[in-house]
């Protein structure tokens, strides 16, 4: 029986009445690395912060060694995506900060900090300020600061995603050799990531989160020998499986033609990016493997998936088993001249993008003029203020491109294009 460190028990979280996490249950046990994998909007960072005791769950409970949290989790230390180092403290002082908070005597503090700095490969940089360091070196400071506290569980919030590819790979490898060599001063690791390969490379278990609201989709054990070989067929098969889980349709998710603007938010992409993706799929014969083009274009999944989502929503492509296939409309869209492709786009967004459809219908019923604030108010029921604004911005961008309606920032008015057919 493995030693159970942290229990997440039916945790739900809402912000202003908007659900972002729904009924999450999981355990972190000693001796394992767990990856929380999900796309943006899946609430994975929120989940990590409830585990860290930084934000309270709305429902359910998080327990550390059986005790329910009521404040920052004493058994954890966190490594941040943005490093979160104090810019006014030297490397040494940053690493010592947590020890100073525990009241460790100065001499012992110095000694332990130097040991952690040495372990993480930072020696020589003790008196440097974070500003003077490269991103990779800064994140090493972040690791040293967390590890020096010898927490039971090390939490990592996308620790490598602010680093360039080579630096990230280097740091990952070094960490894994520390972990494999039993030199790691923590019992378990929980890493949040949107990078599928990273999850397969590091984790013993990958927990896949679905979006809107964040929920558990699947738990995938990774039984590969360490160090892991990216080129092995089992590795590739796992990556494909996770891609499928992240892009595939979920059974209880409504089709865009029936969905409301809050049930199917518009993916945050520009028309230009969307057209670019369709062009690439067309150029490669109308069918591509998602992991392949992600690797070819050097795209992170968070950059690629919204494009795929938008293309699927508008019926320009179809996704099956990690493959993208161009539809007939998609082929027309990318081969037609600009006027014709705009008309096609207009028809697709009017019929299939829920928010654009709602706006078009409302404009048709209100002789062509409406305040944008009206739609913001409606959107606020399902989104935070910033997300609602983003949704409206996307809809305006798409509507303008399709010449369906226009928006005047000065008067906050949405105006239907006189030539547009607003209702199919």
């Amino acid at each position: 029986m493995q030693d159970n460190l942290i229990t997440v028990d039916k945790v739900g979280k809402s912000f202003d009445g908007r659900l972002v996490l729904d009924e999450i249950t999981l355990e972190l046990r000693a001796g394992e690395i767990v990856a929380l994998l999900g796309r943006s909007g899946s609430g994975k960072s929120t989940l990590l912060r409830t585990i860290a005791g930084l934000i309270p769950p709305t429902r359910g409970a998080v327990r550390y060694r059986g005790r329910e949290l009521n404040g920052a989790n004493p058994g954890t230390a966190m490594v941040f995506q943005s490093f979160a180092l104090m810019p006014w403290l030297t490397v040494q002082d940053n690493v010592e900060l947590g020890l100073a908070a525990q009241g460790v005597p100065v001499a012992q503090r110095r000694e332990r900090a130097l040991a952690a700095i040495d372990l993480i490969g930072l020696d020589g940089f003790e008196s440097a300020y974070p500003k003077e360091l490269s991103g990779g070196m800064r994140q090493r400071v972040g690791f040293a600061r967390a590890l020096v506290l010898e927490p039971d569980v090390l939490l990592m919030d996308e620790p490598f995603s602010a680093l360039d590819v080579l630096t990230a790979e280097n740091l990952r490898t070094e960490l894994m050799s520390l972990w494999a060599g039993q030199k790691f001063p923590t019992k378990a690791v929980c890493i949040v990531t949107h990078n599928i390969e990273e999850a397969v490379l590091l984790a013993d278990r990958v927990i896949v989160l679905g979006a809107n609201p964040g929920h558990l989709r699947a738990e995938v054990p990774v039984d590969l020998e360490r160090p892991r070989d990216r080129k092995s067929p089992t590795f590739a098969a796992l990556v494909d499986k996770l891609y499928d889980l992240l892009t595939g349709r979920e059974p209880d998710r409504p089709e865009p033609v029936e969905a409301t603007p809050t049930a199917r938010p518009l993916p945050a992409v520009s028309v230009g990016g969307l057209a670019g993706l369709i062009e690439i799929v067309h150029a490669r014969g109308g069918r591509v493997d998602l992991p392949d083009i992600a690797a070819d274009l050097n795209f992170e999944i968070d950059d690629l998936l919204p494009l795929v989502d938008a293309a699927t929503m508008l019926g320009l492509v179809e996704v099956t088993g990690g493959d993208l296939t161009l539809t007939a409309v998609g082929k027309d869209f990318t081969t037609a001249d600009i006027q014709r492709s705009k008309e096609l786009f207009a028809a697709q967004v009017r019929d299939r993008a829920p928010l654009v459809r709602t706006i078009c219908r409302a404009l048709a019923g209100a002789d062509g003029h409406l305040r944008a604030g009206f739609f913001l108010d409606v959107l606020r029921r399902g989104f935070s203020a910033a997300d609602a604004q983003q949704q409206l911005d996307i809809a305006v961008d798409w509507g303008r491109y399709g010449e369906l309606f226009d928006y005047d920032a000065g008067t906050d008015q949405l105006t239907a294009d006189p030539a547009a057919r607003l209702v199919a």
Partner: protein
Amino acid sequence: MVRTFSAQLRPFAVPKPYRGVIDLVVLLGAAGLVWVVVRLWHGVTVPFDQTTAPSTVSTDPAELPYYAARSLLRMFAALALSVAFTLVYATAAARLRRAEKVLLPVLDILQSVPILGFLSVTITGFIALFPGSQLGLECASVFAIFTSQAWNMTFAFYQSLVSQPRDLDEASRLLRLSKWQRFWRVDVPSGMIPLVWNGMMSFGGGWFFLVASEALSVNNHSYALPGIGAYVASATANAELGRVLLAIGVMIVLVVGVNVLFWRPLTAWAERFRVEDSESAQAPRSLVLDLLRRSRIPRLLGRALGWLVTPIDRTMAVFGLAEHPLRISPMKRRVGDVLFTTAVLAAVAYGLSTMVTFIADTAGFAEVGHVLLLGLVTFGRVLVLVAVATVVWVPVGVWIGLNPRISRLAQPVVQVLASFPANFLFPLVTGVLVATGISLDWGGIVLMALGAQWYILFNVIAGASAIPNDLREAAANLRLPRILWWRKLILPAIFASYVTGGITAAGGAWNASIVAEVVSYGSTTLTATGLGAYIAQATGSGDAAHILIGVAVMSLYVVGLNRLFWRRLYAIAERRFSL
């Protein structure tokens, strides 16, 4: 070996023999400073008797250095007080949920209250607090300067606390810092840059109130504190123009000196607290700071004080962790909220009703109507001032801002002009008005403008120099005619900065009206019709009801205009014209 990395980044290595010289300079400077402060302190605590206290000071130029030093001591005492107030008040407002609801509106009101109207109240209070010592008068003067500095600094620090990067907050909570450690290791450093820059700006504004509060007639009694402001007041009363000019010269030296020796090094030092990754392109440099950095003395001092950190940390840990419980019973919270709201509302209602009965029993409400009309007259002056300053300074500011070489030269000059106390120049203008017989009703506008106009120039320069170069090149490439160039490029681009300048200028003008609508030169006293003159006269005769009405009405005008006019312009600037 380990230390070489950072050593390379220091400005430059200093050969050994010079180091001794630098250390000596720093040591002498520090010793001199201590000696001066100790000597001045003796002057502060001299016995004082309200009936025999001097109402003027000597205008002997030999006394001027001593007076200047006394004034400077007052300025720094007020600055220290403002910093202490800022740290406590802003932290309370940012960290205590309920306190924020009260502290912020209070701060907003305090910011728009004309400080000079309150001098009579504060002076009486402080004299009662220190009977038989000049300390009471000193405190009243320091307090007047404090009230001109503190609100701005507090707002800036509060802003930096609530907009602290989220990950820094999370990191400090996970590291389990105590409240004390959190405050000194995270909160103060992350707010250091706004604190220092706002302190510098507010310090500049403080000179005006120093001058105004050193020589006063309140409650039918004239007071004078040894200081450069009282010196000018006495010289004006004696119509000694040469000595006024001499004092103006000393004042310029003071403003520039404090800038070079204090604010420049401080702003340059504060750069280390910048959170952004990149160094700012034109980070302030300071020779004085370089000198201090090359000396061994500050480092030795730091090491000696460093031993105190751990024991203090341990003692202050009694305040608990910088953490709030995740689970609070909503019932308990609701009850607390209700109790708190009731208490606040009751206090406000009590205050208002006391004020209303007081006015009804004394001056009567007819007086309020009369004062509102007077306010309209002063408002007219503010309006003319802002309009004329706009027409004059916007083109000049744009011209300076668009020429990097000129703006490098002009920027420090304008900075000095903005912090130079305009009431120092009043005697000169008053002399001209007396000689030419021009009414103060019009001349008052000039007096008010002496201090206020610079804010417009200052901000327009900043706005114009921030116009992206490619926009200017695009405009040149399109061969925009002059009028289009102004309408489509320059005016929208500087709009936000102009609004900031305008709001500051208008606020400054309202405050200045209290000293600008009643002026005297020699034996002649000129009085204008207006709210400022009304408050000044009420203060002079110590008429509490009239002071209250005057101050309340002026606050009403300032707050009302900010809400109805300037805030809307801000909103437009942000929505339409942000670059």
